[in-house]
């Protein structure tokens, strides 16, 4: 049996954080107003944030760690939602 060599495993994750629909997104509204001033037709704009995480370890573990970080620190469930994505 071939011995599997374990390279140091690094996994990148992206966390998209958006304000909840029920919350007035003041930044999105301001960008929208500026676009209107620039002559664009009414455009819906919402502004969120994006966080990249780089974690070491087996992919499953890394993903659950990333999930936990996003859940408990990166987003505030009262006012935001998040989507976790695996990169590369």
């Amino acid at each position: 049996m071939k011995q599997s060599v374990q390279p140091s495993m690094k996994q990148k994750f992206g966390v998209r954080i958006m304000p909840r629909e029920v919350i007035l997104d003041t930044q999105g509204r301001a960008v929208e107003q500026t676009l209107r001033l620039e002559g664009y037709p009414p455009i819906g704009v919402r502004v969120g944030k994006y966080v990249e995480l780089e974690l070491e370890g087996p992919p499953d573990e890394a993903r659950s760690t990333a999930e936990k970080i996003a859940q408990t620190l990166l987003h505030n469930p009262l006012i935001e939602t998040f989507i976790l994505e695996t990169k590369e």
Binding site: L24, Q27, L73, L74, N76, L78, I79
Partner: protein
């Protein structure tokens, strides 16, 4: 003795110290890295305003996870009096010691102004003095993210349980139900966006900040609960 909690970026700590001193109380500063095993010798803890951790991620979010906050949590759970002012309020909300969230002002502006407040609840270590006449308070605000948000069901719960502490007479930032300050369920943890410590001498424009303290300081509240 009142404990004043400092985070990197706290900038109202000296003002709060002066406020406490003016009421005849002594104070001690606590640093964000201090994991103090026992805070029970303090009559109250105050989290002053500022921009803890540069307001990175969300206002108060990183400060809420600092070592000293574990000590503050234990102190609050034992019934100790805790007050958060402005960014201190944001830290308490992010720590889940107080309900709701504080989001960006509706008009997108950082508001630096005077506001009129009405006291809704007399509960809590700082509430009973405020409820005495006159019925309203005049205090300054200075915040960009002071819009109090809670879901409909949460708001109803807060109103029913008398956890709304202070309301703006004329809502400056879009806070739901005009809320300027809230209490936890037990009433020993309180937070407000206005700055009582900036209203203690007549030359400041108001002395209503003095009304938060009972005559003889907060000592009468020591170890309550």
């Amino acid at each position: 003795m009142i404990g004043i909690v400092r985070f990197p970026g706290t900038n109202c700590d000296r003002d709060v110290a002066q406020w406490v001193h003016e009421q005849g109380d002594s104070y001690k500063f606590l640093w964000h890295l201090d994991r103090v095993a026992d805070l029970s010798s303090f009559d109250a803890l105050i989290l002053p305003g500022g921009f803890s951790y540069g307001d990175y991620l969300r206002s108060g979010a990183l400060a809420a996870r600092s070592p000293v906050m574990a000590s503050v949590r234990e102190y609050a759970e034992r019934g100790g009096a805790v007050l958060g002012i402005c960014n201190g309020f944001q830290v308490l909300v992010e720590s889940h010691l107080l309900p709701g969230a504080l989001v960006r002002n509706e008009n997108l502006r950082f508001i630096d102004d005077w506001v009129e407040l009405e006291t809704v609840s007399e509960r809590g270590p700082w509430g009973e003095n405020l409820a005495a006449s006159p019925p309203t308070l005049r205090l300054p605000i200075a915040h960009g993210e002071g819009r109090f948000y809670a879901s409909d069901s949460e708001l109803n719960r807060l109103e029913e349980r008398q956890q709304v502490w202070l309301r703006y007479v004329d809502n400056p930032n879009g806070s739901r139900n005009n809320i300027a300050g809230v209490l936890n369920e037990k009433g020993n943890v309180a937070g407000l966006m206005p700055h009582p410590e900036r209203a203690i001498f007549s030359w400041m424009g108001s002395q209503d900040g003095r009304r938060f303290f009972a005559r003889g300081g907060t000592k009468s509240h020591a170890g309550r609960g």
